[in-house]
């Protein structure tokens, strides 16, 4: 395996250096063990290990999202089983260089938002800063306590043709990827435990310990037990998986902009218990989206008034708003001089050669060499893509030059780096691919120092010879191994970690609302599946010559199906009833059809993903398998037979979700809200099915079948037989499904469950024994307990309709809806979903 890699490399005469071997094909010492290992295990086992790595990640639910791609949500994260490797000697240099660069950038940041002496002295051109959209004038003179303003720093590095590591990009606003680094390492550790041990691969966990200590150190409010929230743009963000992962791993509260509000100058989390103060906000939302009042007024991802809270030091925002000014490739041209000026040292890690067009000499250099340079805007944005001059036509080049001439300060030319290749596992063999390494640095405020994660996220290009590597364009991730010296292992003094701040269980109202709907869609899906199976069976058995309208059982089942799914007119339409198959199939697979099974499951999954930080790892696995099943259902169900099979596998997976959560979830508000949703939905569906199935009396045989199906839908047929040991009787069926407090399928049981869960929720203590929601529920419970079942089981002699039953069930459903409304109002109302955030009209000056 290794030989063919080396031969390929030498004979292809690739212009790139390689991480594993010299140009002459000699393997570097730090790669020797790995090379030997790959040769030993051979292609086949390596292929198996590759699959195993993928499986580990899938099972841990590691995903990322691709923007603008309808199938881009929750894509599996791809990890190459071959790591990026650094020798301990080289790493020492990289580590030192990264600490130096972070220190340097930190000083620059402090200066730019302070007295700007670097601009006054001409060390940083004024236009480079004032023209950069990351320079936030609102953040001027706002400082964190102490000298460290830059708390998290990341950079992308690659090995240039001179064999040195070069910095390609600095990331200072809200660097991403550290969470994936942890997942990558976890998967690799499971699959290659000996390899990791033998190579003394350094552990990366200290990164987050340092981060947490620093946060505690920096907090000025509530030092003992700071509430830390991670502000995420939400489930559609590229790296949302990581936001949820880091939150649960670190004990942060995962929050979206809508979960937070500024009041009295403080930032508050809207929870089901009311507002809770937030002391630290780790931000994964880009700077100008963080506060629509002071920055982009069209942002719905931020918190209105956040900047003012920062100004008052009532909340700590990490990284501080304004840090993005350092994400400026133009700055790279000035770093060597700045480093000597500020630190009295030479810059250890060079940046990729950069010419800032804001200076006449550099501008003319860029124009003369434009075809061999990458042209980038100093501000990274979706509209500002980097272009390689060599790939442009004459006309495009002229256009670009015109654009640069109009505003030269906004552009840099950068050398096209031919960075090194590293072995990658592609199409079942080792191939050389260009790779980029992202490093992670965090402030260690206790020691007034910076700590570098010994590892990081490497990415390699899927294509040969491709330079631009990112996950959005399809890069493959790699674990990064920093090899330790054997004697070092364990030699480091083990520092006591400060006691983990107690994580108080708070539930943001939005999360509460999602859990409530999660429960509701779960039950809606389950009831839909069970009823649909009855309907499909009955349809298959039906005599084709008899019109459905003449078939009371099938007709009733279909009508009830329309009622339970809320897809009117559905089967109440004669033309649809004549040819019911398309409607039946659409009810199974059509995600666009509101009320269909696919729609309910999709909604169930959507709510689950939005609260994924609250669900266990095993739950994620089940969710992923439900999601897979849903995809299969959407794509492959075209016949009644297939629909039936699909329902069978789906119900099993849904049941797995039930089982897991009943066993595993701690009995806290999360659990209670999920169950309130579940039982409200069960009770409503129970009523709808009874009302639909038992609305009319037909011939004896049909009545019996309908009662049987009703019991089956509620999984109570066996119970009935066991209890009554008699023929099916209407009052027996009703009594089992409505009155038996020990039957989990009985209405009364479901209502009592709702009440049990409701009473655990925090009450605002309005002095009354029961809150409004419990009063409504109690009314329903009492009505059921007092009902006259024989009277309900009696059909009107003239019409043969069960009018008393229908009217009674309607009353109960109304009370359930009212209960649900009150719960909503009481616990989720400050999600403000009925309020729109808008900009106030601005008066023109005339």
């Amino acid at each position: 395996m290794i030989d063919s890699y080396l031969i390929e490399k030498m004979f292809n005469n690739a212009p790139f250096l390689d991480e594993m071997a010299t140009d002459q094909g000699k393997i570097y010492p730090h790669w020797e063990r790995l090379a030997k290992y790959y040769d030993q295990i051979g292609r086949e086992r390596m292929g198996q290990f590759h699959e195993e790595v993928g499986r580990q990640l899938r099972e841990n639910g590691v995903t990322y999202n691709v923007y603008g791609d309808p199938n881009g949500m929750n894509r599996p994260w791809i990890l190459d089983p071959v790591p990026m490797v650094f020798s301990s000697d080289e790493w020492e240099g990289i580590e030192k260089g990264l600490v130096q660069r972070t220190n340097l950038l930190n000083l620059v940041l402090s200066d730019l938002y302070g007295d700007q002496s670097l601009i006054k002295e001409g060390l940083i051109p004024f236009e480079l800063v004032y023209n950069h959209k990351g320079f936030l004038r609102q953040a001027h003179n706002i400082k964190l306590d102490g000298d460290q303003q830059l708390i998290q720093y990341s950079s992308d590095l690659a090995r240039g043709p001179d064999g040195k590591m070069w910095v390609l990009h600095d990331r200072t606003d809200a660097p991403s990827g550290a969470g994936y680094t942890f997942e990558n390492r976890a998967a690799m550790t499971r699959v290659f435990p000996e390899l990791i041990r033998e190579n003394h691969v350094r552990k990366i966990t200290s990164y987050y310990q340092t981060f947490k200590n620093t946060l505690s150190n920096l907090t000025t409010n509530n030092k003992e037990n700071p509430r830390i929230a991670l502000l995420s743009p939400g489930p559609t963000n590229e790296t949302f998986f990581e936001h949820a992962y880091i939150s649960s791993f670190m004990g942060f509260t995962l929050a979206f902009g809508e979960d937070l509000t500024v009041s009295d100058g403080y930032v508050w989390l809207k929870t089901i218990k009311g507002l809770e103060k937030v002391d630290v906000l780790i931000r994964r939302v880009d700077d100008v989206f963080c506060d629509p009042l002071e920055f982009r007024s069209d942002s719905h991802l931020g918190v209105v008034g956040l900047m003012e809270a920062v100004r008052q030091k009532k909340v700590l925002v990490i990284n501080p708003l304004g840090s993005r000014v350092l994400e400026n490739p133009g700055l790279m041209a000035f770093l060597p001089k700045l480093c000597r000026h500020l630190l009295g040292e030479d810059l250890e890690i060079p940046s990729v050669a950069t010419w800032w067009c804001g200076q006449p000499l550099e501008l003319s250099y860029v124009f003369e060499n434009i075809e061999s340079l990458v042209i980038r805007n100093i501000y990274r944005g979706t509209n500002n893509k980097s272009v390689f001059g060599g790939s442009l036509s004459k006309a495009e080049l002229d256009l670009l030059k015109r654009e640069i001439r109009r505003n030269p300060y906004l552009f840099v030319g950068q050398e096209m780096v031919e960075f090194s290749t590293t072995p990658a596992w592609i199409n079942n063999s080792l191939e050389a691919r260009n790779a980029v390494f992202r490093s992670y640095v965090v402030a260690d405020s206790e020691n007034k120092d910076y700590k570098v994660m010994p590892g990081g996220l490497s990415r390699s290009s899927p294509e040969k010879g491709a330079f631009l590597v990112s996950n959005q364009t399809g890069g493959i991730s790699k674990d990064t191994w920093v090899l330790g010296k054997p004697k070092e292992a364990g030699a480091l003094p083990v520092k006591a970690i400060s006691i983990q701040p107690l994580v108080r269980n708070v539930l943001p109202s939005r999360t509460g609302e999602r859990l409530f709907w999660l429960g509701r869609y779960l039950e809606r899906s389950a009831y839909t599946v069970r009823l649909m199976r009855m309907a499909l069976l009955s349809y298959n058995e039906a005599d084709e010559d008899i019109h459905i309208q003449e078939n009371p059982v099938l007709n009733t089942l279909l009508q009830t199906l329309t009622a339970v799914t809320g897809t009117f007119p559905g089967f109440s339409e004669k033309s649809i009833l004549k040819n019911p198959e398309p409607e039946l199939i659409a009810l199974v697979r059509d995600v666009e059809k509101s009320g269909s099974l696919a729609y309910s499951i999709q909604s169930f999954l959507g709510n689950a993903y939005a609260v994924r930080d609250r669900l266990s790892l095993d739950t994620w696995r089940i969710l992923d398998s439900i999601s897979e099943e849903l995809n299969k259902m959407r794509l492959s169900v075209t016949t009644i037979q297939q629909a039936y099979h699909s329902l069978d596998s789906m119900i099993v997976k849904l049941m797995a979700f039930y089982g897991l959560n009943i066993d595993n979830m701690t009995r806290e508000p999360t659990w209670h809200l999920l169950n309130i949703g579940r039982f409200i939905e069960s009770a409503v569906n129970n009523c709808t099915i009874l009302r639909g199935m038992l609305s009319k009396s037909f011939d004896q045989e049909s009545n019996k079948e309908l009662m049987e199906d009703t019991l089956r839908c509620n999984e109570s047929l066996v119970t009935y037989r066991y209890r009554y040991r008699s023929n099916l009787e209407m009052n027996g069926v009703l009594s089992l499904l409505m009155l038996h407090e020990d039957n989990p399928r009985a209405l009364i049981y479901q209502l009592l469950e709702i009440d049990q869960h409701l009473r655990t929720l925090p009450n605002d203590g309005d002095g009354e024994l029961f809150g409004a929601e419990r009063k409504k529920l109690l009314e329903a419970i009492t009505k059921i307990r007092l009902c006259d079942i024989d009277r309900l089981a009696e059909a009107e002699p003239a019409t043969r309709e069960f009018l008393a039953l229908t009217a009674f069930l309607d009353e109960i459903v109304d009370l359930l809806h009212e209960t649900s409304d009150v719960v909503y109002e009481k616990y989720f109302s400050h999600t403000g979903s009925s309020y729109r955030m808008m900009r106030t009209a601005v008066i023109p000056e005339i």
């Binding site: 004038r137 001027h140 509000t261 009295d264 955030m837 106030t840 601005v842 005339i846």
Partner: protein, 297 residues
């Protein structure tokens, strides 16, 4: 001249709003040719939280939030000020520096960032096609900067028609240039774009000006408006103000409130509100010159 200014802004909500956060740039400051005798601000309903701050450009502003249901928000700013004739009124425009030399000086570190920042593009002030050419017709080679500026001011006044309602704050400068119509802030933005495209530093000034009714008609209460003009940096004279809307070199009749790169830096009142439905907004401004008797009484 002494003036009293009353500036009332009202937001009326169809369905009560539950929360709003606002930034208010309506606090005039003591300046070389302007003394503030008195300033008060009333906000109704009473804000839950308020704080006075200074921004990057040295303006004072107020942040406030109203954190309860309200059907209407009213902000009333009242100020009494005294203005004196600015020094630049007596300057000889022909004796000012050649504009190219000013550009050269601005682009060196000899000039401070506080001044230099106003030659860059900004949100409302973009270097649209043809704007530099338009400006160069006044800024002829070797011409003294103030003389050229007065010429530009007059050309804009003549070329553009004051047309309320044709533009709003989101109207792009291209459209203003194409149709040559707009209101004071459009003319100010246009002037700024002309000057900055040449490399000169010029900033937006927001404030008030007294207006006069047509001859024989009484002046209506609330008929004045907030106004906008520009200030150009001229070495030796510093920030010299010009009003293209009225073809004026600003004297002692322009009451200054705030300066910035453009309107978006100094919007008199802006906010984010959580409301159910539409909002209606009303503004009234009264600028009253106080004569001697009134001062005595």
């Amino acid at each position: 001249m002494r003036y009293r200014v009353i500036h009332v802004t009202k937001y009326i909500y169809e369905v009560p709003a539950m929360l709003c956060h606002n930034l208010m740039f309506q606090i005039p400051q003591d300046l070389p040719f302007q003394a503030v005798e008195d300033y008060t601000c009333e906000i109704s309903p009473k804000p839950s939280f308020e704080a006075d701050r200074s921004d990057f450009f040295g303006n004072r502003y107020r942040y406030f939030s109203v954190e309860r249901m309200h059907k209407m928000l009213t902000v009333t700013s009242k100020s009494t000020l005294e203005l004196v004739a600015p020094a630049w009124e007596s300057a000889d425009p022909k004796a000012t520096m050649h504009w190219e030399l000013v550009v050269e000086w601005l682009h060196s570190t000899a000039a401070s960032s506080e001044i230099r920042q106003f030659y860059l593009e900004s949100h409302h002030v973009q270097f649209i096609d043809g704007i530099r050419e338009y400006a160069l017709k006044s800024f002829l080679p070797g011409r003294p900067i103030m003389e050229a500026m007065l010429d530009l001011n007059t050309r804009i006044f003549k070329d553009f028609a004051f047309t309320p309602g044709f533009t709003d704050i989101s109207t792009p400068l291209e459209k203003v240039f194409e149709h040559k119509k707009g209101v004071c802030q459009d003319f100010a933005h246009f002037s700024l774009a002309c000057l900055r495209s040449l490399g000169l530093s010029a900033r937006y000034v927001s404030g008030y000006i007294e207006t006069f009714p047509p001859p024989g008609k009484p002046k209506l209460v609330g008929s004045d408006a907030s106004h906008a003009w520009i200030a150009l940096y001229i070495p030796g004279l510093e920030w010299v103000e010009f009003d293209a809307t009225n073809n004026l070199l600003v004297g002692d009749k322009h009451i200054r409130v705030a300066v910035g790169r453009d309107f978006s830096d100094v919007t008199p009142l802006k906010g984010i509100v959580f409301a159910g439905k539409e909002q209606e907004m009303k503004v009234s401004v009264d600028v009253q010159a106080l004569d001697e008797e009134e001062v005595d009484s």
